[in-house]
């Protein structure tokens, strides 16, 4: 009886091995080719074709895998709506597929690090200028001197050898709930007052590049690594709360009253929607951080990456930038829906110092607030 059962099992397992192998391989190749098809659209015409003919194109393309591919891989730190519009605009203009990873600055950097041995990104956009500088210093990115419109960028929003392009920027302020806050704070230090106890959020600098810039910019301005403000804030129950949106949302619903060092464009867009929030730029000054777009040194599609940078600095993309309540990167374009660059008072900070200290400061801040 056992012998017979073994025989059955043997036969069965043989059958199954075959079935399994067949299905597994077909599924894997199906996924692979599906994806490969998306990757390998060599020309704009392919994208125009109906889906049915695409499968034929795919097999053709597979054979000529070495041909220049019609895509550009962009890793970008929010805001998601703007990123999506830029992607659409670029695809429509050049017929090049954009494969995009949306995240926060921390997530983008994390992904790059994880893929170090197999890099696939062409363009990287982070929301922190010092971080971009240290990426350049570490040799991650390459220059693009022939970029269009670079001369029209705000002073200092492009580096001398054209590696970093500040195509947009946000300023940091104090966003507060207008239903709950009657006495609007005028400076950062106001938030150390007892009446704000437990009512303030600050974004996590390991997830939010802009928050890190504020912290390091502030420390740079005060000099001597003066952490007094942050220690007092911690003592006053300021909570560290995820990335920018996670820090802001409780303020919108009223769970917290204010978020300090939150990005301003989120406040403006929430306000425009009708949410009960407003933003104030502190008297002693703040940090404006250009959001840097860079071409990776390992970029597999350099030509497309360059086109993408050109696009970011074009009138069309700059209009999308102001539409998202961000500061435009080009000095010749003004935003009408928010405070412009020249009207925001700045702290006295030096990007080089911030770039060198960034990692240490982030670690120290986490230790203090965790």
């Amino acid at each position: 009886m056992n012998a017979m059962k073994n025989k059955v099992m043997k036969f069965v397992s043989w059958q199954w091995s075959l079935v399994m192998l067949l299905t597994l391989s077909s599924v894997l190749t199906a996924c692979g080719s599906n994806n490969g098809g998306n990757n390998n659209r060599t020309n704009p015409i392919v994208t125009e074709k109906p889906a049915i003919t695409q499968s034929n194109e795919q097999s053709d393309n597979k054979e000529s895998a070495k041909a220049p591919s019609g895509k550009v891989v962009v890793y970008t730190a929010g805001p998601e709506g703007l990123a999506a519009k830029i992607k659409e605009g670029f695809e429509a203009k050049y017929g090049i597929t954009v494969e995009q990873f949306d995240g926060t600055t921390g997530k983008v950097l994390g992904r790059l690090e994880a893929e170090k041995s197999n890099p696939i990104a062409d363009v990287v956009i982070v929301a922190s200028w010092p971080t971009a500088m240290s990426m350049k210093a570490d040799g991650w990115v390459q220059g693009y001197a022939e970029v269009e419109n670079a001369d029209k960028l705000q002073a200092g929003w492009v580096d001398s050898d054209y590696h970093l392009f500040g195509y947009s920027a946000s300023a940091l302020g104090i966003t507060y709930n207008t239903k709950l806050v009657t006495e609007v704070p005028t400076d950062w230090s106001d938030l150390t007052d007892a009446k704000w106890n437990g009512l303030v959020n600050i974004p996590d600098p390991s997830l939010s590049g802009s928050a890190l810039d504020f912290i390091s910019g502030y420390l740079n301005d005060k000099g001597d690594n003066n952490w007094t403000l942050f220690e007092e804030l911690k003592a006053n129950g300021v909570a560290m709360a995820g990335a920018n949106k996670e820090a802001l949302d409780p303020v919108i619903t009223g769970a917290k009253s204010a978020v300090m060092a939150g990005v301003d464009y989120m406040a403006y867009s929430a306000k425009a929607k009708g949410e009960p929030v407003d933003i104030v730029y502190p008297e002693s000054g703040t940090v404006i951080n250009p959001r840097a777009a860079m071409i990776m040194k390992t970029s597999p599609n350099v030509e497309n990456a360059r086109l993408f940078i050109d696009y970011l600095l074009s009138d069309e993309a700059q209009a999308l930038v102001t539409g998202a309540y961000l500061l435009p990167g080009r000095a010749d374009i003004k935003a009408e829906n928010r405070t412009n660059t020249e009207d925001i008072k700045l702290l006295n900070y030096d990007w080089n110092w911030m770039s060198e200290q960034g990692e240490t400061i982030s670690a120290q801040f986490l230790e203090l607030f965790k």
């Binding site: 099992m9 397992s13 599924v27 926060t104 921390g106 690090e113 995820g242 949302d249 982030s362």
Partner: protein, 541 residues
Amino acid sequence: MLLGLLLLTLLVVVPLLMVLLHSLFPDDTFDALAPLKVLSDPGLITIFWNSIALGGWVVLGSTLLALPMAFLSARTSIGRHAWLDVVLIIPFMTPPYIGSMGWILFMQRRGFAEQMFPAVAWITPHFFSLLGMVAIMSLHLFPFLYLILRNALMRIGGSLEEAGSVHGGNMFYLLRRVILPLLLGSYAMGALLVFVKTIAEFGTPATFGRQIGYYVLTSEIHRFTSSWPIDFGKATSLASILLGACLLFWYIQNVISQKYQYKTLGGKGMRTRLIPLHGWRSIFGWGYIGLLLLFSIGIPYFSIIVTSMQKLRGDGLAWSNLSLEHYVELLRPGSKGWQALINSMGLASIAATVAVLIGTFLVLQMGNLKRWSQRSLDMFSLLPNTVPGIVIVVGLILLWNAPWMPIPIYNTYAMVVLTYIVFFLPYSVQYVKASAGQIDHSLLQAGRVFGGQSFYIFRRIILPLLIPGILAGWMMTFTISARELVASLMVLPPSMQVTATYIFSQFEQGEVSLGMAMAVVSVGLTTLVLVVMNHLGADRK
């Protein structure tokens, strides 16, 4: 047999070894104590204890919730209400990060609780503590323990107790000498699974834990692998420690359940005495069930649904503030949410189909579990259930993104499918194994006697009898894959979102309401699949 072992080695064992190896080579030099050195960091040892303590508390919490419920359902007339079983699965099927988000929105300052009952304002701040976290996680995990305990109680059957009382035992004596020892084996298994699921859980620590400053191993591993500054060495060390802890508890559970394993199923018919509930007992029983459902389903889903319909988040609860605009946006073909939904459904069905095929194949190879190779097949295939998901993902990334890896599936859909398959293989194996275990050899002999060939016997006897298990396994894998967060966060290729990452990224940088609308839609859809498949004749769990 060899193929099965090879497959499992590649899918499950090698990735885990990669994690161990990586943690032993922190700076490209061998250091056997490297993972332990990580623990000498006082910050990290706290995190380790945080995980363990949380696990312990949640086991206690879910026991307190599940035991009375199991008793009510196995031993009283309440058990006749079969719908309760379906409803009680809902909390377990709700993705934890969404459930805890629901609780946060309900309990926070000026949250829904305070808006409806201003008087509770004095108590809500206390919810944001370890107690709240344990409550949220227990309410999520208790159904698991409940099902196990209920089945065990039902198997014990009335006759053993009757035998006890015939011999003069009173109620407490019966409880102490008959019921509890018989329950212990099953309880050990359930408790261990709850424990492992708790310390492996990522969603609740990432949402609720971060708010109260309670950090655990999983949230730290995720931080080290996906935010600045990246530290794969530390991540793998923590992962190895997590792995070690889980395997240790697994071993302990094995010892306990082997010691307390009894044959409670005999050939004789079984009579289970159902205690009819009347009067105050009935009120008590139903009251308990009502409260349990209120806390485990009512409150979180109230928050989720209300949030998904809010026009302005700042305007709170008001009829005028409700609209379906977020659903319209979500279900507009071509929108990001719509694509995420399609992706999820597609990936989940491919993953479930392949996982079930592999699972069935493995079960058929396991045979009677007599030989070591068969037993190791069994062990390896269940390993992903014992190991925290985040550890497996780290291993899979290390393996499939290695520079020498010839198969370039990292950063493609196939990688996601593969990850889901590895994650949920244990479910298909368990369900199919349960079906296979019920097939009596005499059936095969009968087939043989009547002249059936091997293939004929397989096609006409074995396969049809396995179908319910296969269906149940498929259904389970599909449902869980469609809601999977950790793996999706870490291995999805750019330009691609699934429902879970869509929701997570809406919480992180977009519209909370839109995220909640997606939560409602995806939970609704997968529940629908469950109901339909159930109707089509899959086994009721």
